[in-house]
C-alpha cells in the first residue's frame, strides 16, 4: 500500500489550487461562463476603489468588512489573481489547522491524514477558494480560535474571535459555547488546559455504554454558579472590544454606508429570490406586504431553539458543538447559498475521528445530501435558465433538502462519541470532587 505523508498531500493540494487559478484565468478569457465567482469581481472592484481612495461601498453589492477590500488591494497593484492566491493559502492553512487540532487530541497519523484529505480534496472547498470566495479565510480563523483555546491562549482566541465576528457575523453563534467552555474546572489563565486524548478503543466502548454522566448533573448547577468567571469576562470583554473597535473605525471612515452594508444588511436580509432555504417562496409570496413581528419571530424560533439545545447538550465537545450549530444555523436560515456549506465543511474533519458511523451509512448520507442538492439545482436551473414556472417544485425541493439535512445531522449525532475537549484541571478536580461529596444529596 502506498504511504502518503502530510507534506505530499499539502504539496499536491497546493499544485491543484495553482492549476485551478491558472485554469480560471484561461476560462474567464476564453469562455462565456466565467470560472471566477461573481463575489470576487465585487471584492476586486471594491479593492480598486480603496486604492483610488474611495469607499469600497461605492461598489454596489459589496457587503463585507472593508478589511476584505484592503486585503485585496494588491489585486489592482500586483495581479488580479492575488485574492485567489490568498484565499487558497487560507484554504491550505485550514488543512494545517485540522492536523494540528487532531494531533493535539492524540488522533493517530492515519486518521489525521484522512481527515485533512476530507477538507483538502473536497471538490466543493478547493473550487471555492480558487474561484475567489473569501470563506476559507473565515474557516481558517475559526479553526485557529479552537487551536488557541486548546493551547490555553485566551487573549489570542478572544482577539481572533472579535475579528472573525466583525468579518462575517455568523460565528457569533459560537460565543455561548466558547464562554461555557471556559469553565474554571477546565480552563484557567496561566494554566495549559488538559486535553482529552482520542483513542479508537474508547469509541468502540462507547457504543455499548449508556452510563449516565453523574458529574453532568453537578455541572447543570455549575453553569449558572460559575457563569461569571475571570476567564469568561476576559474573553467577552476582549473579543467585544475588538469587534466594536473595528466597527467604530470603519463607521468613522465610511459612516452609515458601512453599518448598513456590512452589518445591518446581513441581520435583516430576507431574500425573495430562489435559494436553498425553505423560506424563500414564503418570503416571495408575502414580499408585497410587511412581515409582522410574530411572523418574524416564528421563523426565527426553530433556529434559536435548536441553537440553544445543541449548545446545552454538546458544549463540552466544542468542535462537535460548533459543527452541529453551523449545520443547524445554515439549514434553518432564511437565505442559504452554496458558499455557506464551507462553514461546516471545515469543521467536519474535526469530528470524523469520533464517529463510529459505518462506511455504508456514511456514503448513504453523502449521496442523499448531494442528491437532494442536485434535485434542487435541477428545478433551480429550469426556473432560472429555462424560464419555467416551477416555484412550487423548487420549494418542495427545498423542503426535501431540509429533510435530508435533518436526517444527516441526526445520523451524525447518533453515531458520534461525545468526548469533552478538556479534561478537568487536576487540582481543581480534586477540590471540586471534595465539594461535590459535601453537596451531593443523599
Amino acid at each position: 500500500m502506498i504511504r502518503i505523508d502530510f507534506r505530499s498531500v499539502i504539496l499536491f493540494s497546493a499544485f491543484l489550487r495553482i492549476f485551478l487559478i491558472i485554469y480560471g484565468e484561461w476560462q474567464d478569457t476564453h469562455m462565456e461562463v466565467r470560472y471566477t465567482d461573481v463575489d470576487y469581481l465585487v471584492f476586486s472592484d471594491a479593492a480598486a476603489l480603496v486604492v483610488s481612495g474611495v469607499s469600497p461601498y461605492k461598489r454596489s453589492t459589496y457587503r463585507y468588512s472593508p478589511l476584505i477590500a484592503y486585503l485585496l488591494t494588491p489585486n489592482s497593484i500586483i495581479h488580479r489573481s492575488w485574492g485567489k492566491v490568498l484565499f487558497s493559502v487560507s484554504d491550505l492553512l485550514v488543512g494545517f489547522f485540522i492536523r494540528s487540532i487532531l494531533k493535539l487530541q492524540g488522533v493517530s497519523d492515519k486518521i489525521c491524514m484522512y481527515s485533512v484529505m476530507v477538507w483538502l480534496f473536497n471538490p466543493f472547498t478547493f473550487t471555492i477558494g480558487t474561484r475567489g470566495n473569501c470563506e476559507p479565510i473565515i474557516c481558517a480563523m475559526v479553526l485557529w480560535i479552537i487551536l488557541c483555546l486548546m493551547k490555553g491562549k485566551l487573549v489570542q482566541a478572544a482577539f481572533w474571535y472579535g475579528l472573525v465576528v466583525h468579518l462575517r457575523i455568523y460565528p457569533i453563534i459560537y460565543a455561548l459555547p466558547i464562554v461555557l467552555a471556559l469553565d474554571p474546572c477546565y480552563f484557567q489563565s496561566g494554566k495549559k488546559p488538559v486535553l482529552r486524548k482520542w483513542s479508537s478503543g474508547a469509541i468502540k466502548a462507547a457504543l455499548s455504554s449508556t452510563t449516565k454522566n453523574v458529574s453532568e448533573r453537578v455541572h447543570k448547577w455549575g453553569v449558572i454558579l460559575r457563569l461569571f468567571t475571570k476567564e469568561r469576562i476576559q474573553f467577552g470583554l476582549l473579543s467585544g472590544t475588538i469587534f466594536f473597535l473595528f466597527t467604530a473605525i470603519f463607521f468613522y471612515l465610511y459612516e452609515l454606508e458601512f453599518l448598513h452594508e456590512a452589518l445591518l444588511y446581513h441581520l435583516t436580509r430576507t431574500d425573495p429570490r430562489h435559494n436553498f432555504s425553505i423560506y424563500f417562496y414564503h418570503i416571495y409570496l408575502h414580499y408585497e406586504q410587511e412581515f409582522s413581528l410574530p411572523e418574524k419571530l416564528v421563523s426565527f424560533l426553530p433556529q434559536v431553539i435548536l441553537q440553544l439545545v445543541l449548545i446545552y447538550r454538546f458544549r463540552k465537545d466544542l468542535p462537535f458543538c460548533f459543527f452541529l450549530q453551523t449545520v443547524g444555523f445554515v439549514a434553518f436560515n432564511k437565505v442559504i447559498t452554496a458558499q455557506y456549506f464551507v462553514w461546516f465543511f471545515c469543521l467536519l474533519p474535526l469530528i470524523l475521528p469520533w464517529s463510529n458511523m459505518k462506511l455504508k451509512r456514511g456514503l448513504l448520507c453523502i449521496f442523499l445530501w448531494i442528491g437532494a442538492q442536485t434535485h434542487w439545482l435541477l428545478w433551480g436551473y429550469l426556473l432560472e435558465f429555462k424560464g419555467k414556472q416551477v416555484f412550487m417544485y423548487l420549494w418542495v425541493a427545498s423542503l426535501l433538502f431540509l429533510a435530508v439535512n435533518t436526517f444527516v445531522l441526526v445520523c451524525v449525532i447518533i453515531h458520534h462519541t461525545c468526548s469533552p475537549l478538556f479534561k478537568p484541571l487536576e487540582h481543581v478536580n480534586r477540590t471540586k470532587s471534595t465539594k461535590y461529596k459535601q453537596w451531593r444529596p443523599g
Binding site: T211, H286, F385, I414
Partner: protein
C-alpha cells in the same frame, strides 16, 4: 422613412468628450416615464445638423432598426437590435472630415434591468465603445420595489461614415438583460413588453475654428414600420393561491425538523469520559 425631429444649433464640444445623452435625465426626474423622457429630449438635448453640414445636406443620416429580438431563455437574456445606417448619396457635395457614432437608448420596462458591472466588463472587452445604465440599477430588488432604468450604448461607425461607399452599414447590438422577480399573479407568468429604443447618430466635425458635435435623432415610429414584431418576455411569477399552503408547510417542516434534531440531541448526548468510568 426616417426624418429629422429637429434642426437646431450645434454644440461646440471637442470630439467625443461629451457625456451620455440620457445621463442628465435622472438629475431632473426621479423615475423613468416615457412622457418625461420625451419632454427631456425635446428640452434638454440639442438635436440637429451642424453649421458645416447645413449647406451640404438637407436631411439627417438615416438610422433604422431592421431586426429586434430576445435571445436566450430564462432570467438572463440578450436583447438584440440590428441597426442599418444609410449613407448619403454621391450627389451630396463633399462633407468635411467627420467621425460618427451610433447611439441607442434602450428604456427598459419595469421588471427588467441591465447589470452596470456587466456593461463595464463588455466595455473592457471592447464590445461597446461606451455603455452605461441609468436609473434603478439595484440588482437584487424584485419588480414591486424597483423603478425602471435605461441603458445608453454608443457604437463606433467610423470616420467619414456619412459618405463613402454606396452600401449602408449594419450594426448589431446585444444588450445583456436580467429579469427581476415579478409581482405575484394568478396565471404563473408575468408579461413584459419592450418598447422601441431611441436611435441617435452623433458626429464630430473638425472645423477651421473649432470642433463641432452634432446629434441626430431617428424617431421610433419609423423604426416600427420596419420591424413590427413586438417583443414580449414572459417571466415566471409566484402564484398567490400558493400562499397559505406554502406558509403552513414551511413552518411545519421547520418546526418538525428542529424538534427531531432536539429530541435526538437530548437522547444521544451522553458523554463517555474517564470521570464517568471512575464514578
Amino acid at each position: 422613412m426616417f426624418f429629422l425631429t429637429d434642426i437646431g444649433s450645434c454644440k461646440h464640444i471637442p470630439i467625443f468628450t461629451e457625456r451620455y445623452i440620457s445621463e442628465p435625465y435622472f438629475g431632473k426626474y426621479s423615475s423613468l416615464l416615457d412622457s418625461d423622457f420625451q419632454d427631456f429630449l425635446a428640452r434638454e438635448v440639442s438635436l440637429g445638423l451642424c453649421e458645416v453640414f447645413q449647406n451640404k445636406v438637407n436631411s439627417a443620416p438615416k438610422l433604422s432598426i431592421f431586426n429586434r429580438r430576445l435571445i436566450g431563455e430564462g432570467s438572463h437574456r440578450r436583447l438584440s437590435t440590428s441597426i442599418r445606417f444609410d449613407k448619403y448619396q454621391d450627389s451630396v457635395s463633399k462633407l468635411p472630415d467627420h467621425y460618427c457614432e451610433a447611439i441607442i437608448v434602450e428604456k427598459l420596462p419595469s421588471g427588467v434591468f441591465a447589470d452596470p458591472f456587466e456593461l463595464q466588463d463588455l466595455l473592457h472587452r471592447g464590445v461597446y465603445m461606451k455603455a452605461s445604465a441609468f436609473g434603478d440599477t439595484n440588482l437584487e430588488l424584485p419588480s414591486i420595489h424597483s423603478n425602471r432604468s435605461l441603458v445608453e450604448i454608443h457604437m463606433d461607425i467610423g470616420s467619414n461614415a456619412l459618405t463613402g461607399s454606396k452600401h449602408g452599414l449594419e450594426i448589431n447590438i446585444e444588450l445583456p438583460i436580467h429579469a427581476r422577480y415579478p409581482p405575484l399573479g394568478d396565471c404563473g407568468y408575468s408579461r413584459i413588453q419592450f418598447g422601441q429604443p431611441y436611435l441617435f447618430t452623433r458626429c464630430s466635425v473638425e472645423g477651421k475654428s473649432s470642433n463641432q458635435n452634432c446629434i441626430f435623432m431617428s424617431t421610433d415610429s419609423t423604426a416600427q414600420a420596419l420591424d413590427n414584431s413586438i417583443i414580449v418576455w414572459e417571466v415566471p411569477s409566484g402564484n398567490k393561491k400558493h400562499a397559505t399552503t406554502v406558509s403552513f408547510f414551511t413552518f411545519m417542516s421547520a418546526i418538525l425538523s428542529a424538534l427531531s434534531i432536539v429530541l435526538v440531541s437530548i437522547r444521544h448526548s451522553n458523554f463517555e469520559t474517564d470521570d464517568n468510568k471512575q464514578s
